[in-house]
């Protein structure tokens, strides 16, 4: 087995193992730490695919940003205030149905899409090429994502304002 394959199995093991550990951990703080493991695994897989730019962004945004925000929220609210899904049967059923639907949709997307896969690594600096593609071929998706984030931002500001003014907008 080549070194690349060994690395691949270790990294995908980290990714999937981390994901499973999140599912089976009851304490939220531990789940966050397992999430870190999983995200690091994905970053490693990107490096294995010669996509250093994506790997750096994965660490910068997901590990250094989003997970920190989760931790921040967790520290502010405390682990005791969350509902244990096992307590309520209705919630467990609802969670099961929604995750099954999501899984089916994702599987269908993966199956049906014709992935433009290449076996050759892009030569040299991928950063410039990604930037060019984002602002030319994929500018629509890029803008949709920015609009979505803007909507979320405005929505959060509105919610905070509602809570502060005692429910009156």
């Amino acid at each position: 087995m080549s070194a690349e394959k060994v690395a691949f199995f270790i990294l995908s093991g980290l990714t999937l193992g981390g994901g499973l550990a999140i599912l089976f951990s009851v304490r939220l703080m531990r789940a966050v730490v397992y999430l870190l493991v999983s995200l690091f695994g994905v970053a490693g897989l990107y490096i294995l695919l010669n996509a250093e730019f994506l790997a750096a962004l994965q660490v910068l945004i997901y590990i250094g940003g989003i997970t920190i925000l989760m931790v921040f929220g967790l520290m502010l609210t405390g682990p005791g205030q969350f509902v244990n899904p096992a307590e309520s049967r209705l919630k467990a059923v609802a969670a099961g149905v929604s995750s099954l639907t999501t899984a089916i949709v994702l599987l269908l997307i993966v199956k049906k899409t014709k992935w433009p896969a290449g076996t050759q690594a892009l030569a040299g600096d991928t950063t410039a090429e990604i930037g060019r593609l984002l602002l030319t071929d994929h500018v629509f998706a890029f803008e949709i994502a920015s609009v979505l984030l803007l909507v979320v931002l405005v929505g959060v500001a509105l919610f905070v304002r509602l809570a502060r003014d005692g429910g009156k907008p």
Partner: protein
Amino acid sequence: MIVPSLLLELAPVLVKIFGAFFVVLTLTAYLTLAERKFSAFIQDRIGPNRVGPFGLLQPLADGIKFIFKEDIIPTQAHKLYYILAPALLLVPALMGYAVIPFGDYVEVAGRLIPLQIADVDIGILYVLAIAGLSVYGLFMAGWASNNKYSLLGGLRSSAQMVSYELTLGLSIVGALLVYGTTNLRDIVVQQTAYWQVGSILIPKWGVFLQPLGFLLFLVSAFAESNRLPFDLPEAENELVGGYHTEYGSMKFAMFFMGEYTGMITMSALLTTFFFGGWHVPWLEAAGLSRNVAAILGVGAFCAKTGCFLFLYIWVRWTLPRFRYDQLMKLSWKGVFPLALANVFLTGVCLYLYSRLM
């Protein structure tokens, strides 16, 4: 003959890694002494002068003392995270050096060896990503200690680091636009060029191209390394010691080392982005051989980094601490909009420049 050629490949890399480790860790130790000496000077005291000549062996004595102290773990602490936290702070701080070029090429036995551990294309992003990781050490320490002061320190640190990581990244976007690359070595090489004003040559250092970006990066770098006036995560007179309240012996020393190593990383980055890295202005005219020039360059890099380290210490013993809301206001209402404006202005200027020239 595979093994010898592999060794020949690996030897310079290993030498560079061990060299960088040795220099950085020694510098970290002596930075604590420098801090105490300078603070003494600023406050008109003498400072440590008992161990060795001028107190020069003080860091060694401190290290030995730390190692021989009893290692206490609070009974209610989360053991694994409690032990992991100091390492999680120190390791990212050390990892940052992997991509920082500390000198030009040297020629050894007919081979050109770059004075940099890893020359990666995404240097800037790597550095930013690694800098963001150190916050996990702080939050984990705060969480695992099971102490309200520690938790508050960890909470403050995660909010502060997320806010200032953003401005740290945004403030170098202007510089990125000017250089057009994320490779740190390319950035330094571009800064070795000159403008000709009359008969005077002015080096094209980043600080002249991006004065506002430099200032914003400096402020964010201070906040990222949790130094005064931004040392709210530890704030000893309101939080006892913040995230490291419950830590003792060598674990406490590791937090300390993490802080000082982070300072050295940030100083090295400031040098690389805005002060020409290893570049010694007007040295090219002297016509020195490659190796001599490279070694002088390493000296220049260290000297520039040292200046920023001095600035760190100077500021710490001069300015009082921010209040927490002031800190957040400065980040989101001060530095962030200015950094955006800097990006916009740089873009407009570059466009006009490319049109006119």
